[in-house]
Symmetry: C2
Subunit: 353 residues, 2 copies
Amino acid sequence: MQESNQNQAPKRTDVNSLGEFGLIEHLTKHSKLRHASSFKGIGDDAAVLDYGGKPIVVSTDILAEGIHFDLMYSPLKHLGYKSVVVNVSDIYAMNAIPKQITVSLAISNRFSVEALEELYAGIEAACNFYNVDLVGGDTTSSNKGLFISITAIGEGNKDTLAYRSGAKEGDILCVTGDLGAAYLGLQILEREKQIYLSNPGVQPDLGTNDYVIGRQLKPEARKDMIETFIPKADFVPTSMIDISDGLASELFHICQQSSVGAILNEGGVPIRTDVQQIAIDFKLDPITCALSGGEDYELLFTVNPEDLDKVRYMPDIYICGEMVNAKDGVKLHTKGGNIHPLKAQGWVHFGNQ
Amino acid sequence: MQESNQNQAPKRTDVNSLGEFGLIEHLTKHSKLRHASSFKGIGDDAAVLDYGGKPIVVSTDILAEGIHFDLMYSPLKHLGYKSVVVNVSDIYAMNAIPKQITVSLAISNRFSVEALEELYAGIEAACNFYNVDLVGGDTTSSNKGLFISITAIGEGNKDTLAYRSGAKEGDILCVTGDLGAAYLGLQILEREKQIYLSNPGVQPDLGTNDYVIGRQLKPEARKDMIETFIPKADFVPTSMIDISDGLASELFHICQQSSVGAILNEGGVPIRTDVQQIAIDFKLDPITCALSGGEDYELLFTVNPEDLDKVRYMPDIYICGEMVNAKDGVKLHTKGGNIHPLKAQGWVHFGNQ
């Protein structure tokens, strides 16, 4: 009877040394696809399966208490809603329509049936809004903490699926909505949590920060873009990804998988004025919040320059750069006119440990 | 800033009061299916999706450290293998063929890259044996413990899918393989763990219990039955379920969802002689281990009596009862000739808390 780790070779590499993406890549490098039905495997926002009908898009995410959410300030209903949103966002990022989800929970016994009803009320609300069916799941106990694992399944069309790998030199880089707010919402919630912990009598001062707090606690995925605006404008993004880890990190994914470089124009990155002000109040650079904050669940995509006129006047879409030759790297063109290499600095969950 | 649970109504119902199945049913009772592609939702071994090609079968399971496995005696490679097995078993239980899996992990920082390589080596070995592709996943950190959430996707045929709900009065009840061994393997591992904990110098005495320990640590799903023997015998089970929670509990699922009763013949329940002896050594009734032990991952199914000759002489399939009218309930016909009501007593994870 021995601790299984003692069976290993003495070498012990810390998972932090690889980072999340490096770790997945390292662990799955021997993995090969055997079936024709496995059209696209690991490495995009979702896998693509071909079972003879429409292409099926599958994505999965696991959310862990204390890592992805803090029940001190995340109401369970919002948390249920957000868990669905982060998953359907991956389906939209393939230019596909989410149709089903499965939900697996591991819950410690501090959760009552009533608490779980709240969580499921949020899941149901998101299912209603995003028009997806809850078709399965599993519920078990955990010794400590709440874990929510959701798999989302969606429907695509062969001709309109958007991968991370399709960007070409000369393509225009676009982003939806506005960035940085979810990260700043988290900063405010964390600040108020610390104040509360040191003096539980104090009521939280969330001020006039409803927008950024809402973006953190109850984000939305861009259903409107994928189901309405982009089809109506009649173009197909050459590549697409959702912004869960920050604009910079996502842009690197597109560049790496498309074998291109990019010039990102700081002036084209959409950040609301009130959000910029909150960043400054926190002594943070607004563009850093947009580049590295994450959790905005907006879409970053590229379009063929021939489609430029189709996107130029679309509501809530912003042109923020251009794809260039891979040898030119990934660069930020600042408002001050400087051009310097962009750094990818998304959420490093393992680094938090 | 308040603890979210404090926002709830004062009522606090313990999740134990509903049990795992009652809890899922309670939480998802408002859930409705909107899409034609959601052919079959919650309530079977897997959901069935119809995207215009072959029916797609989807199942998901989450395994939690300290609940489903103990790393004191589960080597990580075996654990990875078993996590895949429990999922593909659900696909087989639909009379479908598993094709893809996604794997989501939440891991605490006590796991090294080398430890995760072991886990993935087991996952890969199972992918090879069961001929499934690893097409996606997510890896994150957890504050405590290891959680493995796997979604399996398979391919069925409209005419041959087997649901829990198709059993008819007069159908013959059959079971594959042998039962009770995985539960007894667990008892031995737990006994040796306790001895080790009270005296770490003692080496484990696993005796000649390789079979039952193997059934616990590295079970197999019945790929052979679904891919070879049943198609070759040319019949379709009228209902089917895999035995993860114990024969009794699974039989209740079939009876409830098919609106029938059952008479289970104790003499027809396959238990190996050596396994019976181990049960007796543990002062356990062998039939109780088979009925309530669980984790055997064998298949329990019903066949139309017209197909009886097709199954009667099949290897490793045992006729163990008959489906009767629902008003006659679910009964055990003992070897001693008594007939008494069967009790469902599967793994109650929440009860362990």
